[in-house]
């Protein structure tokens, strides 16, 4: 299994994309790399805190913009479904009966833009929601398993970037990520540890905050001390470590 290294490769591509534009990594860089990895025609990112997308953060092209706006306008589409089901929607062919049945209004409008396949991923960590990332193609066909894996890894990266930008109180319309992290380290979740989820839940109680804030505090604590997230989470789960409700303590 090669998850950690693949995540690192993808993070390198995201960082390269940002460097080429001469700025810090933004959610737009992640979206652009997802489009390239999936051989998609374009993509979009929308913020979401509930069961539907709230507003559009980034689009790569006019068709993506139409697709993203359409779903906000119509109140239906794959972006809504991914948030409700907490699972991706892999719509390899908008011309099939299934798409027409699931999203009658969206499917018709989307096809008129020239999109024939849509792939939408929730930006979620368990109960924590930060948005969705969508991709479209102008020819039908499924994602390969490698493309699917890349999209899932990039969605993880986008989730964390969005949470960082929202948490820092610096949420910009372009979803700039201002969180601190050790140089070059991917903000993804490729190596999954159950202790991170359990510790996040424990911190909601210790700190009296939402799960999104608890996760941000856990990351901030680990990075401020240059420790691995999983190790800090392990200490919290083993009850060797408690975090102080005063956020000043962890340098947020």
């Amino acid at each position: 299994m090669m998850s950690a290294s693949r995540a690192t490769v993808l993070w390198g591509l995201v960082a390269e994309h940002a460097a080429a534009a001469g700025r810090r990594v933004t959610i737009g860089d992640v979206c652009a790399v997802a489009v390239a990895s999936a051989r998609a025609s374009g993509g979009w990112v929308a913020a979401a805190s509930g069961r539907g997308p709230d507003f559009v953060l980034y689009v790569t092209d006019p068709v993506s913009e139409q697709l993203a706006e359409l779903q906000l306008l119509l109140g239906e589409g794959p972006s809504h479904d991914v948030l409700a089901a907490a699972a991706p929607v892999l719509g390899a062919d908008l011309g099939d009966k299934e798409s027409a049945r699931r999203w009658p209004a969206f499917t018709a409008e989307a096809r008129s833009t020239g999109a024939t396949a849509v792939f939408v991923f929730p930006l979620m960590i368990g109960a924590i929601r930060s948005g969705i990332i969508g991709l479209y193609r102008s020819s039908p066909g499924p994602l390969s398993s490698q493309q699917l894996g890349d999209c899932l890894l990039l969605a993880d990266t986008a989730t964390v970037l969005l949470l960082e930008s929202l948490d820092g109180g610096t949420a910009a319309a372009d979803g700039n990520g201002h969180g601190t992290r050790p140089g070059g380290q991917s903000p993804g979740l490729a190596v999954h540890r159950v202790e991170i989820d359990q510790a996040t839940g424990m911190l909601t109680e210790q700190l009296g905050v939402t799960a999104a804030e608890a996760f941000a505090r856990l990351r901030a604590y680990a990075y401020a001390r240059d420790r691995r997230l999983a190790d800090v989470a392990g200490d919290i789960v083993a009850r060797r470590l408690r975090l102080d409700p005063d956020p000043g303590q962890v340098g947020l």
């Binding site: 089901a85 907490a86 996040t200 839940g201």
Partner: protein, 236 residues
């Protein structure tokens, strides 16, 4: 083999599939029953995430060291070999110095296990995961036990296909991600409840599951509502 226990297990699993269905609750029940039926010490269902990682969807125990045992198998172990080959893989004695998985063997024996069996979860030509069975004593599993283990692994696969299939048709890839996210929600809820009540994770899980059953809700919904809730009460 206790045939009453066996038939009872399959009746119970089938019952779960026609009620409000929660994949993680179902897989957890399956690991618990695997332990009882197959004289195992612990069991876990591991799923292959397209991100390139084997992830635990459900385990019969949260005992210290269990998570690590599954994590190590991303590099080496009977589960990884089972996933790669699509065939059952047996480790009859992990204390055997000739073991092909030295790191895994050390971690497993330290956790108290001497024998492991991994049976594949197959969907047509694709291996989507594996059922892992751990025993505290060395020795190969009986062929009759292995047949039951494979049947349980097959039922786990059917359970994944079942998830929300009545609502709309979805690909296995979508179902798998939904299951993995459900697990994360449940772990977050376990952490929150364990912290609130000062209990262990296993006890917190039992309370969440009992509440879901008593109120006829899906475990994942109960867990998500609890994580989202700002109320000081549980159940909320």
């Amino acid at each position: 083999m206790d045939s009453e226990l066996l038939s009872g297990t399959f009746v119970e699993l089938a019952d779960t599939m026609v009620a409000e269905f929660d994949i993680i609750d179902f897989l957890h029940m399956l690991t618990d029953r695997s332990v009882a039926l197959l004289a195992a010490s612990a069991a876990g269902v591991v799923l292959a995430d397209p991100r390139g990682e084997l992830r635990v969807a459900a385990a019969s125990s949260d005992a210290a060291g269990m998570a690590e045992l599954f994590q190590i198998q991303n590099d080496q172990g009977p589960c990884l070999d089972c996933f790669r080959t699509g065939h059952p893989v047996t480790a009859a004695d992990l204390a055997d110095p000739g073991t092909p998985w030295p790191r895994f063997a050390v971690a497993a024996t330290q956790t108290g296990f001497r024998a492991v069996e991994a049976v594949p979860m197959r969907l047509r030509d694709q291996v989507i995961g594996a059922l892992n069975l751990f025993r505290a004593t060395p020795g190969a599993f009986e062929p009759a036990d292995l047949r039951i283990a494979q049947a349980l692994a097959d039922v786990a696969t059917i359970g994944l296909l079942q998830e929300r299939s009545l609502r709309r048709s979805e690909t296995m890839a979508e179902q798998l991600q939904a299951a993995l996210n459900s697990r994360v929600v449940i772990e977050q809820a376990k952490g929150k409840l364990a912290e609130r009540l000062g209990t262990g994770m296993d006890e917190a899980f039992r309370m969440l599951r009992d509440h879901a059953r008593n109120s006829n809700q899906r475990l994942t919904d109960v867990a998500r509502d609890f994580v989202d809730s700002t109320s000081a009460d549980f159940p909320t």
